[in-house]
Symmetry: none
DNA sequence: TATGAATGAGAATTCATTCAT
DNA sequence: GATGAATGAATTCTCATTCAT
């Protein structure tokens, strides 16, 4: 990288490069965790100079925000395609658990937004989030055969519980063997997988 | 702070001094926000040397953890005293909103724990949290006249929603006037106060 | 240790307690290395309050100095008892290697003295060191059957080389497996055992 | 330092800047002693931001290591140029005494290495040290007209004595006037200048 | 004598972001 | 457009020593 990388002139090329950066970020998070994501490391991984990063993303937090929005759209797209009325809670849980980065990003969303995102990208992200929520709500209405307003209300509660449950997924990094017996449950891995389904069941009235 | 603070030799005196430190921390958070909480600033405010702080609190994160546990105990204690069967959602929301620092601390809980708390104080805190949850659940059973197991299940969902809703309370610091119309709702202050009650109503079946 | 430990009134008792403290220090160094020696840890290990330590030792560095002097006296005492004319280099090396803490303390001697020792204890230590050096020199004269002045000169060179070689014994803590081949020798453990004997041989003319 | 320093983009410019930093460090040591070397102070003196320092030196200890290697190379370069067979001991002593920082850095070498140097720079330094030692040994062979192996053995002993004697040069900071008569010798300044030549003479057999 | 609570100086380092080239 | 050198704020926590009790 001692020369100047080829320039991305066309709109397509720019979009492509942004994708490459997002992808590098995903890899970095997987490999090193969130703390491993430094702009330096990201630049290296994306084969790009540090300064170049800022041509495609205005801040680290905006990057995370973009990553989250994409993950959320993935979740809902798959939900639209795969969900069926019975087994909704299990499906939803699995969907959400299986989509890489969705949970940890959702858990950090508030802190991220709070931190350092410029207005414009924040608004853009919010709009995409709202649109996606609506798609979810619509699908839910169809599945449950309830009126849209009802589905929307249910969605809100569900997303709230999901946001809460996502916090449980933040890896505590403790070795279970060293835990006192009475606390082992509280620190169990896959807390989310255990805690979320009952909530969904309760919220959807599928008891 | 050019003198030596009175020495806390008895157990009582020590407890008192720790309280003073926690109290100074609360003041600091109110005045300057979470980022304003510096060990230096805290020492100054608590009229104590920096090193002394560490005799009472092993790290900044442990401090936040202690602060949260106390806030949670306050909430539940008041819940036990004040809650009545009708108007549960409103009461709960108010309780939780009115208890200083409860919401923002709860929203940051996972991140804090993740960060830098030694095992021992973490376990102690977890135990207090568990015990307090149980007290809540018991009171809920009484209020709703449901069996303990049912109350416990309801508590779990409620706390999950609460944890999710708490995220909404993190101040975004945006001036509402500058927001696009279609997003004004999403950034409203008191998001929590608007978003949580419907969830509680739904979860408790009080529709 | 919540009460007041029994007081060491008599001279004997004081000496005994000082010995206990030195002994605790040796244990601490063995177990945790030099960095593990904090006055707090030492107090705990010696079953004494932190303040009490300072009744027996004026500073941490003075403690190390005392430890060194004792180790050196041990070395020379054993040298007087065990050394014989042939195999001097090997014997000396072994003696010095086998006496616990002698080498690492010697290696740190200059830095320690430089740091923080009051005049009086420093002078006392120096006198003991000089006296011990003389004993060594005398023994050397007998062994080699050379005049005292010659033995003294030899001693000086020997101690100089010893001091230099002692530096080599400071544990580098590197894993030999990860070392480049061309540097493996430079970082070998027991550097001292390999580097010192040839020097002694050369200095004593035992080739 | 309210502006941005000129950017060193070429390899040469970078090398130059590193030299400037090392030079500033030397100045700092002269003026304030080793304890005066603070990364902050160094940055200020080098007219560079603190962070910039770390672009050129990975840690304070690496800085000292670099300083030592350069000093050693200076010594040996001058030795190659100036040494002649007679008066070797005096010449060597003077060379070593006169090269700024060589002695105090050599005395601290082990401690520095032990402390906090990353593998890569450590290995690089070691290699330079080894190469320089060889140059010394070669010159010695020429001067003394002895075979290389013999010269190498002599070098080892010499460096050992040198390392030991270097410890004597660490400034004790005591006022000679306040010293007891019987210890005045032990604390004399220029201890090194008095203690090293006899050793060299003995080792080289120039008696 | 013994205790241990209180002190407080002190410094290294990271990393997001900028902007000269 | 791309680069990567430079920036510099910002904060934690340790631990030897003291001295009130």
């Amino acid at each position: 990288m001692d020369g100047t990388a080829k320039r991305a002139r066309s709109v397509d090329q720019k979009a492509e490069r942004q994708k490459a950066i997002l992808s590098a970020a995903r890899g970095l998070i997987s490999d090193l965790g969130f703390d491993g994501v430094t702009m330096s490391a990201l630049a290296k991984r994306a084969q790009v100079a540090k300064g170049t990063l800022y041509l495609y993303v205005r801040s680290k937090e905006e990057l995370f925000l973009l990553l989250f929005v994409e993950a959320m759209e993935d979740v809902v797209t798959r939900f639209e395609a795969e969900a069926c009325a019975d087994q909704l809670p299990e499906q939803l849980t699995r969907l959400v658990s299986d989509t890489p980065l969705f949970l940890p990003l959702y858990a950090r969303l508030a802190a991220v937004i709070e931190a350092n995102v410029a207005d414009e990208p924040l608004f853009a992200a919010k709009r995409r989030i709202l649109a996606t929520s609506n798609r979810f709500s619509n699908k839910l209405a169809t599945l449950l055969e309830v009126p849209p307003a009802r589905a929307e209300a249910l969605s809100l509660v569900l997303f709230q519980a999901l946001l809460g449950a996502a916090q449980l997924d933040l890896p505590s990094g403790r070795d279970p063997a060293t835990l006192p017996a009475d606390l082992r449950d509280s620190f169990a891995v896959h807390q989310f997988d255990r805690a979320f389904p009952p909530s969904v069941r309760h919220i959807l009235g599928v008891d």
